[in-house]
């Protein structure tokens, strides 16, 4: 009884707090287990988005770096490398800063640079990692982008700390600086590293619809201009297939890269373990996949699932948002999967949508384990790639999915394009959201920040609610064409409702993309907080 009264009293407080009376609605005070002490140590971060610094228009922007949080709300030190559409600013010292972490894991992060600062909205997924969006909006620049941060292990901060086989996915822009490029590029592959030497590398590249693949070599080294950054921040330089990069070691299993000589490629290399199947007959899993990139229409996202029993692929389901055009693929023919015996973990899967018989959907993948990998779309039509897109492949486990296991607190992030109105001139521009929701009985409640870049300023603390609808057992593995869906309602001074199709990887992770509203092309993840 006492507990019930307490619950009622809390609810009453939340209600009054949620109604500020000035036309805007604020979320209730956050509840949860996190605090500033939850962010403590050295973290490698990466975001991908765009910036506006006056004088020129918004520019694609990628940043990778390292910051050290002291567990009390202060940033002690750090460094970052920035690539703006091929123009780099390297080894920028982070001289300080501050951060907050609310009980629900949401918070803010400000990194102080020499003459300015950059701001992020964050949501912890654990004390070791979290999701983030760039929320910088000051006199010097506005920048946005989605990304994440993950705790570093200083014990790996040496050239030999990058050792063994890795798979990588570096999307971005190519190095062609002549108009009308830079153009979209997806560069994926695998390599073996040992004491600063990269050997046995193999890549698949889609550079502005031009496919290429082949072996490569490279090097890993200290940055001769910033030698101390290796031992201090895990930062160094690499040469991969002739392209220069800066890297940040997270630990022996993950390294973050950003290109530094023309072009703007960035992403993670993840250690490949010995569970990677060597024979296609040993693959007996369902997989969820998601890719994002550019098509001739604009932004494109695809999300789907399939079941692989050896080379036989069944129950393929895919959803596409081609810059506002929604396409459902419910039935397929000629679906199959194969492995490349010469390159461990590399393979392809393909299927044909009867509606597009002349362009079989084709993907190359690199598994870093038996359950995870990266993929690059290689669908072509009339000898031309239909898009430049890549993403993630993950085994679907833990089903069936229902309200009993899709429950608890989740970090949420999405990124993409939406039509926005800034200065009276409506255009499509980047949209990034990060937040936290509690899922109970498949209903969502929480809060989020959103940065619709055309507006120039992020909007903080939107009241976030919604619901998830699960079709059947939630795996879509039974040949059913029905989908899991999610509705997210965002309320501040006005209300926005976004509808998504959702594919559960497991009860702790889901991929989603919007499946209604042609004015938006976004995709994102729901990830359990631990």
């Amino acid at each position: 009884m006492k507990r019930l009264l307490f619950a009622f009293s809390v609810a009453a407080v939340l209600w009054s707090a949620a109604c500020s009376g000035n036309g805007t609605v604020n979320p209730p005070p956050p509840v949860g287990k996190y605090s500033v002490a939850s962010l403590n140590g050295q973290y490698a971060f990466a975001t991908n988005g765009e910036s506006f610094s006056g004088g020129v228009n918004a520019t694609p922007l990628a940043r990778v770096g390292s910051f050290t949080a002291d567990g009390t709300g202060k940033i002690l030190t750090g460094v970052e490398d920035v690539n703006a559409a091929g123009t780099t600013s390297l080894a920028l010292p982070i001289t300080g800063g501050s951060y907050t972490v609310n009980a629900d894991g949401r918070g803010t992060l400000t990194l102080q640079l020499a003459q300015t600062s950059i701001d992020f909205g964050i949501t912890l997924t654990s004390t070791n990692d979290g999701l983030m969006i760039d929320e910088t909006s000051n006199a010097n620049q506005s920048s946005t982008g989605s990304g994440n941060f993950t705790k570093q292990n200083a014990g790996s901060f040496q050239v030999s700390g990058i050792s063994g086989p890795y798979v990588f996915d570096f999307p971005g822009l190519d190095g062609d600086q002549t108009f009308p490029c830079p153009c979209p590029e997806s560069f994926v592959g695998r390599f073996d590293a040992s004491n600063g030497t990269i050997s046995s590398g193999f890549f698949d590249d889609n550079d502005n619809a031009n496919f290429s693949s082949g072996p490569f070599t490279g090097t890993i080294a200290q940055d001769p201009l910033q030698v101390a950054t290796l031992t201090s921040f895990g930062r160094g330089i690499a040469l991969i297939a002739g392209q220069d990069y800066v890297f940040y070691i997270v630990d022996a299993t993950r390294v973050r890269f950003i290109s530094t000589n023309g072009g703007m490629l960035s992403g993670d290399a993840v250690a490949q373990n010995n569970t990677v199947p060597t024979n296609v007959s040993s693959i007996n899993s369902s997989f969820v996949f998601i890719v994002a990139g550019s098509s001739g229409s604009g932004g494109i996202t695809r999300i789907g699932r399939f079941t692989a029993n050896g080379a036989t692929v069944t129950n393929v389901l895919e959803d596409t948002n081609d810059n506002g055009k929604f396409i459902k693929t419910d039935t397929t023919t000629a679906a199959s999967l194969s492995l490349d015996a010469a390159n461990p973990g590399r393979g392809t899967f393909t299927f044909t949508d009867p509606n597009f018989p002349n362009a079989p959907s084709t993907f190359v993948f690199y598994l870093n384990s038996s359950t995870q990998g990266i993929i690059q779309e290689q669908t072509a039509n009339n000898n031309g790639a239909v898009d430049v897109a890549d993403g993630t492949l993950a085994a679907q486990t833990g089903g069936p999915f229902a309200s009993s296991n899709i429950t608890g607190t989740y970090a949420i992030n999405w990124s993409g394009l939406s039509l926005q109105n800034g200065g009276g001139f409506s255009v499509q521009d980047e949209e990034d959201l990060v937040g936290q929701v509690t899922v109970s009985s498949l209903n969502l409640t929480g809060a989020a920040d959103i940065f619709q870049f055309q507006s120039g300023v992020p909007v903080f603390d939107l009241v976030t609610s919604g619901s998830i609808s699960i079709a059947g057992d939630g795996t879509s593995s039974t040949g059913s064409s029905s989908r899991n869906t999610m509705t997210v309602k965002l309320v501040k001074s006005n209300t926005t409702t976004v509808n998504f199709v959702v594919y559960f990887v497991n009860p702790q992770l889901a991929f989603f993309m919007n499946n209604q509203d042609p004015n938006r092309t976004v995709a994102g993840i729901l990830q359990t907080q631990q």
Binding site: S53, V56, N57, A58, T59, P60, L61, V82, A84, A85, G86, T87, T88, S89, L92, L113, N140, Q141, S143, L173, Q177, F179, P180, C181, P182, C183, N208, A209, N210, S294, S295, G296, S297, G298, D322, N323, G324, K325, F326, I327, N355, F356, P357, A359, N381, N382, N383, G384, A385, V386, L417, L419, F425, S426, V427, Q428, P518, N519, R520, T521
Partner: protein, 155 residues
């Protein structure tokens, strides 16, 4: 402001592969095979010549982005111009009554098609809104060397 010389010469290099009237007719009476239009091909590129009926930087017509409705000799054609910020960055405006020439081609969007512009030209000013592979250009494509160098100030 980018030089339009390269773009103009690019347009000229295309040659007049189809007359405006035959193109407009193909738009209306003979829909191309959607199956063959999932990737951009310079070999299919044609010209549209017409008068602007309506320009919308954020049209409700798919795909998302800027669209212009042209009155051609054979009727009205809706043309996708991609990212309106590219036009804005090039100080390129379209108003009703403007005479424009557009190089582009039909592209598939699911089970339907739309006309995808690669180059839009008004008078002596031309802007490439797609590259030769059909992908949308971004404002970053329009930056001068000096503007790119200034990006070193981005943090």
């Amino acid at each position: 402001m980018i030089s339009t010389k390269v773009i103009r010469s690019g347009i000229m290099a295309l040659g007049i592969v189809l007359s405006v009237s035959s193109l407009a007719q193909s738009q209306q009476t003979s829909q191309p095979d959607v199956q063959q239009l999932r990737s951009y091909s310079m070999s299919r590129e044609v010209f549209l010549l017409g008068t602007v009926v309506k320009f919308d930087s954020a049209s409700v017509t798919l795909p998302m982005g800027a669209h212009v409705v042209l009155q051609t000799a054979s009727g009205q054609v809706d043309v996708h111009l991609g990212n309106a910020k590219v036009l804005q960055a090039a100080h390129f405006t379209l108003n009703p009554g403007d005479s424009v020439r557009i190089a582009g081609e039909p592209l598939a969007l699911g089970d339907s098609t739309y006309f995808a512009a690669r180059i839009v030209q008004k008078g002596t000013q031309a802007v490439a809104v797609r590259n030769t592979k059909g992908f949308l250009t971004t404002p970053a494509s329009l930056m001068t060397r000096e503007q790119k160098e200034a990006l070193r100030g981005v943090r």
